[in-house]
């Protein structure tokens, strides 16, 4: 009767002790189950698309099956290719081929990545710098908080048309829009981090004879870096959302523009391919920002 009750969930000691009666149990992230789940989601898509095929004249405009997506999604993107990397795009009388579709992805992807990187770095630098400046005194910081609270509640993505009206349908619009959104996040994060900073750290370095500027650069900035790293991670998906929102508005290039075009004609196969690329790029950038901030703050606990 008293057979050892070994908990099968017990793979790691901190999650579930072997032989626990369940009170310690924590569920586990099981990659294999997630993989199965994703496959199930894909099958679900297939099943629904089969149902749709029966009732709709052009199912490819609603929910094409995944085979259709794989076959026509990428080549379809060739429509948006300008011939920038060579070859003959459909717009110049060429065929919708895989290489042409890939060329379109590379062309517009490069443009989008360029915009987001410039916007992200600009916003990051401006936000942190402004945040440090505004932290100079408690009064100024509170004033800054007032402004930031107000600006932050604005539905950021809704500002797209406004930026278009100001900067025209140009890359400058995209870049400034991304920089604005990222900058706002970093500004608030910087001011919050400085406000939460242990005053003794500052007092100690003052007592060593450091000047005000040196304290900001040598002490305050390094001390808040770990928190800024967290904020930068939050800013990455936001930046991609903003980029997408900006490119859907009037700009003639970029992944978002392609997406907007495809949405206009509800070309779900193309939308799917663009969305996957979008997600992958976001993921890569998240990892990169994570790695960089881990590298910079490797002294932190």
């Amino acid at each position: 009767m008293a057979a050892p009750v070994l908990d099968r969930r017990a793979r790691r000691p901190d999650r579930a002790a072997p032989g626990s009666f369940g009170t310690r149990s924590r569920t586990l992230f099981r990659p294999r189950r997630v993989a199965v789940g994703v496959v199930v989601l894909a099958l679900l898509w297939e099943a629904v698309s089969l149902l749709v095929t029966r009732g709709v004249e052009h199912p490819e405009f609603v929910m094409p099956d995944l085979v259709h997506v794989a076959r026509y999604g990428l080549p379809g993107l060739a429509d948006y290719y300008t011939g920038w990397l060579g070859g003959t795009p459909p717009s110049a009388g060429g065929e919708r081929t895989w290489p042409m579709g890939l060329a379109a992805l590379v062309e517009h992807g490069a443009i989008s990545v360029g915009r987001i990187l410039v916007g992200f770095v600009l916003g990051l630098a401006a936000g942190v710098l402004l945040g440090l400046l505004m932290s100079a005194s408690r009064a100024v910081r509170n004033a800054g908080f007032g402004i930031a609270t107000l600006l932050r509640t604005l539905p950021v993505l809704a500002l797209g048309p406004l930026f278009t009206l100001w900067f025209g349908a140009t890359s400058a619009m995209s870049v400034s829009f991304v920089a604005f959104a990222v900058g706002l996040v970093m500004l608030v994060a910087t001011m919050t981090a400085v406000a939460n900073l242990d005053l003794d750290v500052v007092r100690y370095s003052r007592s060593l004879g450091l000047g005000a500027f040196a304290v900001q650069r040598r002490v305050v900035l390094p001390a808040i870096l770990p928190e800024l790293g967290g904020a930068a991670l939050v800013a990455v998906p936001l930046a991609w959302s903003v980029l997408l929102a900006s490119e859907i508005y009037g700009i003639q290039e970029g992944l978002g523009w392609m997406m907007g075009k495809a949405v206009q004609f509800t070309l779900v196969d193309r939308i799917t391919v663009i969305a996957v690329v979008f997600v992958l790029l976001t993921f890569v950038m998240l990892r990169a920002v994570q790695a960089i901030s881990a590298r910079i703050t490797r002294w932190a606990e």
Partner: protein, 265 residues
Amino acid sequence: MTAAVPARARWSAWFWRAVGVAVLLTVWQLIALAVYNLAVLPAPIDVVENLVRNFGGSAGLAYLGLSETSYLGNLRYTAGIVLTAWLVGSALGLSGVVAARLQWVRDLTDPVLYVFGVVPVVVAAPFALIWFGFGPVGQWILVAFFSYVTVAVASLAAALRLAPRYEEYAATLGVAMAARLRTVVLPAVAPATSSAVRVALGAAWSLQVVAELFGSETGVGRVIAVRAKTGDVPSVMAVIIVLGLVALVCDLAVARLAKRSGAWQ
């Protein structure tokens, strides 16, 4: 930032925040005067004037053929979808607490959370809108789904982080599993979860407007779209700002509730 902050310091903080806002408005007004071009940068006064004129009904919007011709009507549409969808989605997101303790629930929800947890949700918008319509249903599902993912990820992580001894303590008092989830795990993760709920609401406004910009009969996004097309900057700014104010009020209300539920911290 605890309750121990003296009242005077709090008042002074609010005072300086108000000063900040006043400075912002003044600078904006001055720059607008210098630019002196309504189509580039209207002054705050111009925006307010536009807001007052069109809040209850707008001849311009009627002319452009919108079904809702007042700012108020469009605002009501947008806020109605955002608030109901966010509420339902956030409530579903509490399933993260259960997923942290029951493996089969975790296995069921993880694929969705893992795939959509890090995705900039705007990319999901076209799918929701194409499948469920460029109207209230598609928008509602999009916002609800996004709220669900945001809250579920946070509540799952918080429940996984909780030290086992709290539940063990309750178990040694004779409290059963389901009651432990309700009376121990749920209150313990409330602070982390409620901040995720706030984040979800803040982003929900943005998301809804983008969904409306993609194409919609009604809503603030629709107003922005038609007004931006005619280069009417004061109108665009007016609706964005008034939507921001609504979002601010809602956020403060949620923050207040969250603070009350987290008074023990």
